[in-house]
Amino acid sequence: MKAFEKAVWLGAVLFLGLLLGALIMLDPFDPALHRHISASIQNSALSHPVTAVLLDFRSLDTLLEAGVIVLAAAACLVLWPMFFYKPAAFKASVIATYGAFVFPLIAVVATYLLYSGAYQSGGAFQAAALFGGGLILAHLNGSLHLGAIPAVFIRALYSLGLFVFIAVGFLGAAEGSFLQYPQEGRYYLILGIETSLALSLSALLAAFFIQAVERIGR
C-alpha cells in the first residue's frame, strides 16, 4: 500500500468519525414544512403530500427537472458515437414470454403506480422508472421491435411531457401566475401532466441506456 493510499484511508476514517459526530449532535428534525403542507393539502387536488409538493405546490421545480432530463438526453443524442453493438441472442421462448406476458405486466403495474400517485406513494417518476426498465429489456431482447419506430415519433415523445407541462403553465398564466392551475378541472390537468410526463420520462430514461450501448455502425 502506498503512502498516499494510507493517508487517504486514514483521512476517510477521521472524516467518517467527524461526520458521525456531526450527525449525533444534529438537532432533532423539525418538520415545519411538512406541517405546513399537511395543513394546506385540502387546497390541492391531490391527497398525497409528496405528489402534491411535486406537482402542485412546487410544480416549477418539477418542470425544470423535466427540462434537465430532456437537455441531458439531447446532449447524449449529440454525442451519440458510432459503436457496433450486436444484440444478445435469446431463446425464442424467452422473447415470446417477455413480449406477451412480462412487458404487459410491467405496463399494467406502471399504470397503477402512475394513477395511485394521487393518494399514495407513486406518481410519474416511479412509473417512468419502471416502464423505462421494461422498455430497455424489450429493446435488449428485441421482442417488441422498438428499433422500427420512426425517429421523429420518438423525438416527439421525448419532449411531450415538457411541452404539455409548459402549455398547462401558460394556460394558468392567463389568470394568475405561471403554473397556477385553474380552479375547475385542476385534478384532470395534473393527471394529464403526470401521464405525458411519465410517457416521455420513460422514453428518455430508456434512451439514456439504449443510446449508451447501441449504434447502427458497422
Partner: protein, 85 residues
C-alpha cells in the same frame, strides 16, 4: 441515531475514497454515484420524524432522476473522448 444515517455516512465516505484512489474514470463515476446515494440516504433518514417528510422526499426524488441524467451524460462524454483518442 438510526442505522440509515450511519449507512449513509459510510457510503458517503466510501464514495469519496473511490473518487480519490481509483484511476479509471468509470470507477470514479461509480464512486460519485455511491457518494450521491449516501447524501440521499442521509437526507431522507435525517428528515424522518413520525412519517416521511414530504418536501425532503420530493427533493430526493428530483435529485435521483437528475443524478441519473448526469451520469448518463458523463458516460457518453467519456465514450466520445475514448473515440476521439
Amino acid at each position: 441515531m438510526s442505522i440509515y444515517l450511519v449507512t449513509g455516512a459510510v457510503l458517503f465516505v466510501l464514495g469519496l475514497v473511490a473518487v480519490l484512489l481509483r484511476d479509471a474514470f468509470v470507477h470514479k463515476l461509480i464512486g460519485i454515484n455511491i457518494f450521491i446515494s449516501g447524501v440521499f440516504l442521509i437526507f431522507i433518514a435525517g428528515s424522518y420524524g413520525q412519517s416521511a417528510d414530504s418536501v425532503a422526499t420530493a427533493l430526493v426524488l428530483t435529485g435521483l432522476v437528475v443524478s441519473l441524467g448526469a451520469s448518463a451524460f458523463s458516460l457518453m462524454l467519456y465514450r466520445s473522448l475514448l473515440k476521439s483518442r
